[in-house]
């Protein structure tokens, strides 16, 4: 189990992480979502020892991560980084050795991963001569070359074309099948929904929702009601007790019903405004779960 436990981090008065906790089981993929600046990168950097947490720790198989354990993590930073003038093969072998492989094993691993990711013929080229897509592949190879026990990838899909996305997804799924826990952050929620066993949504420095996508959906469903009332005046539902307006656009209204709210009362109110074109419970997409989760709490007061 890869456990992130109660991480706190502040930069001066700016509180970046405020008790982030989640766990990733071996052989599962965890999608890490959150708006820009929510603290995803900081969380990952803490796991890699690049940032020191003010409180909390990250554990792998029950042991708090130290420099030796961190060497077993494959990492892809958000800011891609390779030596531009170093050859692909040598670069991969170098990173493999920094992770503890001996010279011969590192060379073999470098060759293997270069071949696997379609870089076999570019092994002797400096990285700067490669296309951006190929550089991204080298970056992934650098994360995988040391046969890591854990993968932590910061925005691995950003900047990839659809073919590249599929190739990367396949490579990650293979790691998962091999028993490696994979954590990656992404803004591409459809991808997260498709690939991940579990997701975590980070907002304002804490995990506002975490768990399997299906479970999150179930938790939210039965609470979201879509009502289309073309003739209703704006704000028609705001006065109903126990009801929160999630979105409202030209009468197409999404409502969240609190525990004590009565859906029949909502229907009655809707009918009072005129014609009701649509009235149904709906299962939220991950995008909606995300929007819902990251919405400012102050939104209750605002319109």
């Amino acid at each position: 189990m890869l456990e992130f436990d109660g991480l706190h981090k502040s930069y001066g008065p700016n509180r970046v992480l405020d008790g982030v906790s989640f766990a990733v089981a071996p052989g599962s993929m965890f999608g890490f979502c959150g708006s820009n600046g929510a603290g995803k990168t900081t969380t990952m950097r803490i796991a890699l020892g690049l940032v020191r947490a003010d409180a909390g720790e990250v554990r792998w198989q029950g042991r708090s991560l130290d420099q030796a354990l961190r060497r077993r993590i494959g990492y892809m930073p958000e800011e891609r980084g390779l030596y531009p003038k170093m050859r692909v093969g040598e670069q991969l072998a170098y990173f493999a050795r920094l992770h503890g492989l001996d010279g011969a094993a590192a060379a073999r691993a470098a060759e293997h991963w270069a071949g696997r990711l379609g870089l076999g013929e570019r092994r002797r080229d400096p990285v700067e001569k490669l296309s951006l897509g190929n550089q991204q592949r080298v970056q992934l190879a650098a994360a995988l070359v040391s046969r890591p026990e854990v993968l932590i990838l910061d925005e691995p899909f950003s900047g990839l074309d659809p073919v590249g996305v599929d190739a990367l997804a396949e490579a990650l799924l293979e790691q998962v099948r091999g028993g490696v826990p994979v954590v990656f952050s992404s803004h591409q929620l459809d991808l997260v929904e498709r690939l991940c066993d579990a997701v975590g949504i980070l907002a304002r420095g804490s995990m506002v929702a975490a768990g399997p996508v299906a479970e999150l959906r179930r938790r939210e469903s039965g609470r979201l009601l879509r009502v289309v009332v073309p003739d209703a005046p704006p704000g028609w539902a705001a006065v109903l007790p126990g009801v929160r307006v999630v979105s409202e656009q030209a009468g197409d209204t999404l409502l969240e019903l609190g525990p004590g709210a009565d859906d029949q009362a909502v229907l009655a109110a809707a009918l009072r405004t005129g014609r009701v074109a649509h009235f149904a419970w709906r299962e939220p997409s991950l995008v909606e779960l995300f929007r819902e989760a990251v919405a400012e709490p102050a939104g209750e007061a605002a319109a």
Partner: protein
């Protein structure tokens, strides 16, 4: 997972890997190879120039007809006194002597040197050689006459020589030290720049984040400085060996032992100077994220280096002046100034030791403080980091 699974490399192994990467990537860098070759060519050229300028140093060969055994030594002694190397060749008779001059085997031939009518046969006129021969012949004649007259030559006063400018050959040592300091300055700038460029390259390409996920900042800094330092040391040693061998082979120096001593002290000061400047340059470089910004952060440290260089040149002329004396103890300036003063023979072992200790203390401080700044600044890849921010952000 196979049997060759990962193990945990220790600090030494990590530092070694970083150092090895620095060395191998520099050895493949065309600019580095070219600059190394240029330095060697310049050095050889300089020695060639020396040989050409002091071309008269080739010994003048002088044939002497039927020497009775006194003329040869007298000529050589006289030659040495006026600074002309004379090599005496015995020939049996006047005909052989003239033949040797015509064949240009010798520059001149002395016929009947101890007789009543000595004659110097020359291919071309050579005032220095003429003076040597004239002096030797007349000196010998005078002493012969005096001996005949019964004068006691043993009691003649001898002039005691006491040079004020230090021991003989110091001038030459200072020249060697100046050449050494020019090289030292050039290599310090070159290699400290390499370190700085390497630091910024890692920051600019963001590869530093990947590196720091596997090692601590100090290990990265140490590997970089050590790797490039070994390369720099290798280069200065090659230059020193080529220079000393060349100088000895071409006979450019009088006192080989002192030459080697001076060169060795220049090399030793390179090590100290490099350790300091590489650290300072690396730390300064860690504050910026683009090569373009490097100049501005390196300026203060570069100024110190340039200052040291000019003070060292000045010290060559006035090695025991106040400026030279004081600066030869100032850490940062001492690696450039002290070798010149050492070469001039103006310092005691104790003074050198004091300068070395001061320098070592400064290096230790630079490494400690610099390591903190470096750690704090490495992951701040946006624009320029302030020194104070970096110190505060150190992650330990």
């Amino acid at each position: 997972m196979t049997s060759s699974g990962p193990r945990t490399p220790g600090s030494a192994a990590l530092v070694r890997m970083v150092a090895a990467r620095e060395v191998s990537s520099r050895l493949r860098d065309k600019n580095f190879i070219v600059s190394s070759v240029v330095i060697l060519v310049l050095l050889l050229g300089m020695m060639g120039f020396q040989v050409a300028v002091s071309g008269g140093d080739e010994p003048s060969r002088l044939a002497v007809v039927a020497d009775d055994g006194r003329l040869g030594p007298a000529l050589e002694a006289q030659g040495e006194a006026v600074g002309v190397d004379v090599e005496v060749v015995d020939v049996p008779d006047e005909a052989a002597a003239r033949a040797a001059v015509e064949a240009e085997e010798v520059q001149a031939a002395l016929v009947d040197g101890t007789g009543p009518a000595p004659e110097l046969v020359l291919a071309d006129r050579d005032p220095a050689l003429e003076a040597v021969v004239g002096g030797a012949v007349s000196g010998l004649a005078v002493s012969d006459r005096l001996l005949e007259a019964g004068v006691d030559l043993q009691s003649l006063p001898e002039v005691a020589v006491s040079p004020i400018g230090g021991e003989e050959g110091d001038g030459q040592q200072v020249v060697v030290a100046i050449i050494g300091v020019v090289l030292l300055y050039g290599l310090l700038i070159l290699f400290a720049q390499f370190v700085a460029q390497g630091v910024v390259e890692e920051k600019a390409s963001r590869v530093v984040e990947l590196l720091l996920a596997t090692m601590r900042p100090w290990q990265l800094l140490a590997g970089k400085i050590l790797g490039l330092g070994l390369l720099g040391l290798g280069q200065i040693v090659v230059i020193a060996v080529v220079g000393v061998t060349g100088a000895l082979a071409l006979d450019l120096v009088d006192v080989p032992g002192e030459l080697i001593g001076t060169v060795a002290s220049v090399v030793a000061w390179f090590v100290l100077g490099y350790a300091f400047y590489a650290c300072v340059f690396a730390v300064a470089a860690s504050l910026v994220s683009r090569q373009e910004d490097l100049g501005s952060v390196l300026a203060p440290a570069s100024m110190v280096l340039v200052l040291g260089f000019f003070v060292a040149l000045q010290a060559a002329g006035d090695p025991d002046g106040t400026l030279a004396t004081v600066t030869s103890f100032v850490p940062g300036l001492s690696p450039l100034v002290m070798p010149v003063r050492q070469a001039a023979g103006e310092v005691t072992g104790g003074e050198v030791a004091l300068a070395v200790v001061l320098m070592l203390v400064t290096i230790a401080l630079a490494v400690r403080l610099g390591g903190r700044v470096y750690s704090g600044a490495l992951l701040r890849t946006s624009g320029k980091t302030k020194l104070r921010e970096a110190l505060r952000a150190e992650r330990g």
